[in-house]
Symmetry: C2
Subunit: 350 residues, 2 copies
């Protein structure tokens, strides 16, 4: 198979973890006799530095012409703490999601047997957790109108959803549930938000089309609590953009490290794969960044492209690295000094 | 001391837990020779049933004339799942917060030595946690403009903040930090939201007035993760309305039960005290609701009224009930059948 993969390493630890995923993809191409070409694009702070925009035209066009996109991470501490920055690295990612209409962000959270001890939660809480978050990615407060009054004394963000936006993520979420444990939990704040009430209405209307799937509801505050006290209760979590952002990062505590969580961002025409974790600037180039989330994102890419055997090969490599404690310090209490690159090497060679 | 206390039991388990707190307050009044009068008001679903409004005029006027308000819980399952309800119980609480201008919601999260085993988190994670959340309570997306298009196909909520709204909660948060571990963590989503950027600007401007306090920043998604992997790092968490709602309910997992978390909602003229937990309709009148959050809210009320010794007396009673396992089933693995009322009786008699 000939595939054209866009690679956007981004900022902070993005480049180093992405490099490991690319390495693994190259090994897979060799082993299974594919031809993968990789085209690199700048995005985020590094793009601002070079091109004075967080999403250069060239990057966008590389992505538009690719079969799939591998994304690293975005943002730097300097921008993070500065509320007055004229341009923001994250805008690059948000614009890209919008431009490619990547409306479905899919984030699996699976407890690894080998890592039950690594979680902040007690073992019995974590064991057997296997949930997946369907986060709407191109609507809500992320993309609503933003205002700052002229005197700078008032600021606002609007959270808007349309029926269509809700429908097109609800169907894949229910379909996923059909192939899993047949349960969808809609997370919203329908007791307060008009947009959440629209979500409930639309999802309630669609649910009968999937009679084998049970639908239940949870308010976001309650969900943030239940996700920790009983993560096993969840199968598919369906939610809007901001709540999905919060819940999926929170879910990192279940599996033991946010450095393990992969995601796919899918639209009707394009597909992007990215770790759930951020750019963690302070960890940049120290060799301590966990490449597994990026490598598992590459596995999700292979799945998406129909290369199931290849994806399994990558996941087996990750499983083995966890079993043998070939992991970065966030997960490793057995060996010192297993670096980002060493983990990548191990999974590449597996 | 003569005090006039408004009591709004509300819905679900609200009445039964509030009854225990009132009982304890009466015992305190006896013991310390105070005259507490209690005036009851309807709010929420029960008010809708009787008066066709979630916040009757009479309730509001009882509250306005009270020295302090004790609030129970609001909402019922029927309303919770119905996105089309014409009137919503929660509106009663939101209107009350707004009418009394209760802008500062203060939620302490303290790990009890006796309960370290009850948390979903590992003991070493929980131990020594002592944080307090300052949640802005009368602004943000809760109170912004809400719209539903005529055809019902588009809905929106606006999240607005003014400099003044941010300032008036920031000062008490920094003052609280000065009397504690001298650390404020501002939680926002300044990489995406204009309103969050205003928060950062205003808080950055105010911080130098409290040179002994360290200010740091965290994005809400990251905070939802850090609250679990390292709750000890926090002292005062300062945040806007929605993020505070989410983080404070999530924090329930640290202490072992959301049934332990109390809160104060303070304005310049009025003060209300309420459990962080909700109305949990399915548990209503089963005798299993934990009254401690309500009783500790009463203790916060006593503190606020300057009755420190009395507040300590109540907290000691709670401490003792935890030590002796005189607790409801959410916390009790030792004895069966310790009911809401029995816990109240024990703390009353202590
Ligand atoms: C970097 C940031 C804008 C982004 C988001 O909030 O969506 C990130 O947290 C994520 O979850 O992908
Ligand atoms: C009942 C609901 C409107 C309320 C809120 O979201 O503020 C509750 O969750 C709380 O935290 O007091």
């Amino acid at each position: 198979m000939k595939l054209n993969i866009a690679v956007l390493p981004g900022d902070g630890i993005g480049p180093e973890v992405t490099a490991q995923a690319v390495k693994v993809l190259k090994a897979v191409a060799m082993e299974f006799d594919h031809l993968f070409t990789f085209q690199y694009g700048l995005i985020g702070a590094s793009a601002i530095e070079k091109h004075n925009t967080p999403l250069p035209e060239e990057t966008l066009s590389i992505c538009k012409n690719a079969d799939a996109i591998l994304f690293g991470a975005i943002g730097t501490t300097a921008y993070d703490i500065d509320p007055n920055a004229k341009m923001r690295p994250e805008q690059g990612l948000l614009q890209l999601r919008k431009a490619l209409d990547l409306y479905a962000n899919i984030r699996p959270v699976v407890a690894y047997e080998e890592l039950l001890n690594k979680s902040s939660l007690k073992k019995n809480k974590v064991k057997d957790t296997n949930l997946i978050i369907y986060r709407e990615l191109t609507g809500g407060i992320y993309f609503g109108e933003k205002k700052l009054s002229e005197d700078g004394n008032e600021a606002s963000d609007s959270c808007t959803y349309t029926r269509k936006e809700i429908e097109r993520i609800t169907h894949p979420a229910f379909k996923a549930a059909q192939a899993r444990s047949k349960k969808v939990t809609l997370v919203d704040k329908a007791n307060v938000l008009e947009s959440s009430r629209l979500w409930r209405r639309v999802v309630q209307e669609i649910a009968p089309q999937y009679p084998d799937v049970t639908l239940n509801y949870m308010f976001i505050d309650n969900a943030a609590n239940e996700l920790i006290i009983n993560p096993k209760q969840f199968d598919v979590i369906l939610t809007e953009n901001m709540f999905g952002d919060i819940l999926s990062e929170e879910a990192g505590v279940i599996v033991g490290s946010i450095g393990l969580l992969a995601s796919a961002s899918l639209g009707d025409k394009h597909a992007m794969f990215e770790p759930v974790h951020g750019s963690y600037s302070p960890a940049t180039n120290k060799g301590i960044a966990n490449p597994i989330a990026s490598i598992l994102s590459a596995a999700m890419m292979l799945d998406h492209l129909g290369l199931d055997e290849e994806a399994t090969r990558v996941r087996d490599g990750v499983g083995k690295s966890l079993k043998l404690h070939i992991t970065t310090p966030d997960l490793n209490t057995k060996y010192d000094n297993i670096s980002t690159t060493k983990v990548g090497d191990f999974i590449e060679d597996f």
